[in-house]
C-alpha cells in the first residue's frame, strides 16, 4: 500500500478515536491485523428507527489510491434497508461512488451511513424489493427492519408472529435465513413465500 494512503488512515484513526461519537458509542473503527488496508467499522442503529438498539458491522477496504478514491464499504451485518442489499450488504450512497472527495474521512462515511439508516432514499435503491415495501407498506417495512435488527444486530424487539411463520417454513425443510428472506420479501404472506420457495 502506498504511503499516502497509510499515513492518511493512521491520522484518521486518531480522529475517529478521539471523536465524540465514539464516546457516545455511536461509531467505531478497528484494524484487522496490522495492515491499514482492511478495517472493521461499527455503527449503532440510530434512535427512533427500526435499527435502534442494534450494532451493525461494516467491512471497509482502503484502496491504494485512497484518499483520492473512496473506501469500499459493505455491511457485514444483515440489514433490511432500501439502500443496502439484503443479500450482499452492498451500499448505494453517493459519497461512496462519484461524490467522494478527498477531504472526506472514514468518520464522514460512518456518519453518513448512520444518517442513511435514519433517512432512507427509496427512489435511489440498492435493494428494489425492500424499497418497494418501504414505499407501499411502510408499517410492514418497519416491523421487518426491526425484526432483522433483533435477529442479526442484537436489537431488542422480538417478533413472535414472524418467528412462528419462519418456524413453519423451517418445518417444511427450508433453512432459517432463507425462510426469513422469503417471508420478508413477500410481506410475511406465508402462502406466497411458500409458493415462491417451492416453485
Amino acid at each position: 500500500m502506498n504511503n499516502i494512503a497509510t499515513q492518511r488512515i493512521k491520522r484518521e484513526f486518531k480522529e475517529v478515536i478521539k471523536s465524540e461519537e465514539l464516546a457516545k458509542c455511536s461509531i467505531k473503527v478497528d484494524l484487522i491485523g496490522d495492515s491499514y488496508t482492511e478495517l472493521k467499522g461499527e455503527i449503532a442503529g440510530p434512535p427512533d428507527t427500526p435499527y435502534e438498539g442494534g450494532t451493525f458491522f461494516l467491512e471497509i477496504k482502503v484502496p491504494e489510491t485512497y484518499p483520492f478514491n473512496p473506501p469500499k464499504v459493505r455491511f457485514m451485518t444483515k440489514i433490511w434497508h432500501p439502500n443496502i442489499s439484503s443479500v450482499t450488504g452492498a451500499i448505494c450512497l453517493d459519497i461512496l461512488k462519484d461524490q467522494w472527495a478527498a477531504a472526506m474521512t472514514l468518520r464522514t462515511v460512518l456518519l453518513s451511513l448512520q444518517a442513511l439508516m435514519a433517512a432512507a432514499e427509496p427512489d435511489d435503491p440498492q435493494d428494489a424489493v425492500v424499497a418497494k415495501q418501504y414505499k407501499e407498506y411502510p408499517e410492514i417495512f418497519a416491523k421487518t427492519a426491526s425484526h432483522w435488527t433483533n435477529v442479526y444486530a442484537g436489537g431488542p424487539n422480538k417478533n413472535s408472529e414472524f418467528d412462528t411463520k419462519i418456524q413453519r417454513l423451517i418445518d417444511m425443510g427450508i433453512e432459517r435465513d432463507q425462510a426469513r428472506g422469503a417471508l420478508s420479501t413477500y410481506n410475511w404472506d406465508l402462502e406466497r413465500a411458500t409458493e415462491q420457495l417451492f416453485s
Binding site: 492518511r8 484518521e12 483520492f68 443479500v87 452492498a90 435503491p125 425462510a179
Partner: protein
Amino acid sequence: MDNNHETTATKPEGLEQDELIIQQHREIEKEISDSILLIGQKEELTSLETEYINDPVYLTKIQDLNKKYKCMRRARPDGNCFFRSFAFAYFEYLMDHNEEYKHFKERALKSKDELISCGFTQFTLEDFHDTFMEVVNLIGEGQHEKLYDTFNMQGYSDYVVVYLRLITSGQLQKDAEFYKHFIEGDRTVVEFCHQEVEPMFKESDHIHIIALSTALNVGVRVRYMDRGESSEAIAHDFPEGSPVCVHLLYRPGHYDILYSR
C-alpha cells in the same frame, strides 16, 4: 433463497449497469495514466497538427496559436487537468517573479484558517495544506526541474489539485449569492461544490476558473480552440481585465498549458 432473491429484484438493472460503467471508466483511466504524464515536457504547438490532419478549422487555429505562443505542455486528461495545469503554470511563473511569490505564499498560508472556518474537517484540511505548502516552498528554491518532477509524482500532484479544489469550493461558498446564478440545474452552491468541485476527476467549467482565479487573484487567459468560425483561438481572461500570468489552451473537455512568445 439468496439466488432467487437476487434474480427476482434485489438490484435494479440500472445499478449493475452503473458498476459496469464505473469499471470501464477505471480501465480507460488506467490506460491514460499509463501513457500520458501528469504534466508533460514542453513541445512545439505544431505537434497538435498531427491530431487534426484533416481538419482545416483546427489547423488554421493552430497556426494562429503558433504565432502567439512558443510552446505548450500537455496535462493528463483525467478531469483534473485544469487544476493541475493552472497550478504548474502559475508556480512556474512565480519562480521568476519573487515579489508575487511572497504575496502568494502569505495568501496560501492564510487560506488554511479560512477554509477551516468554511467548515472543512480540520485534520484532512491540514494534511492537504501542509503538502500544498511543501510544494509552494519548492518555488522558493527556484529549481524548475524539481518542480516538474514533483508535479509528476502522483501523491504531491494530487494533493495540490485537492487543495485548489477546496480553495475553489471555499470561494464559491463565500460568494454564494453571486455564483448561484451560474449554476445549472436545481441545486444550491453547496450541493454544486459537493458534486462538481470537491470530488477529484470532476471536470472544470468557467465557474471553477472564475472562482479559483478570483480566490488567488491570478489572471488566467484561456485560449479556446473549438469549431467556432473565427480563424483564431479566441481568448477569455479570468477574472476579466486582470494582468495575465497563466495561459491555458482549451480544447473541448481538456486544458493544457501555453507559453506566450
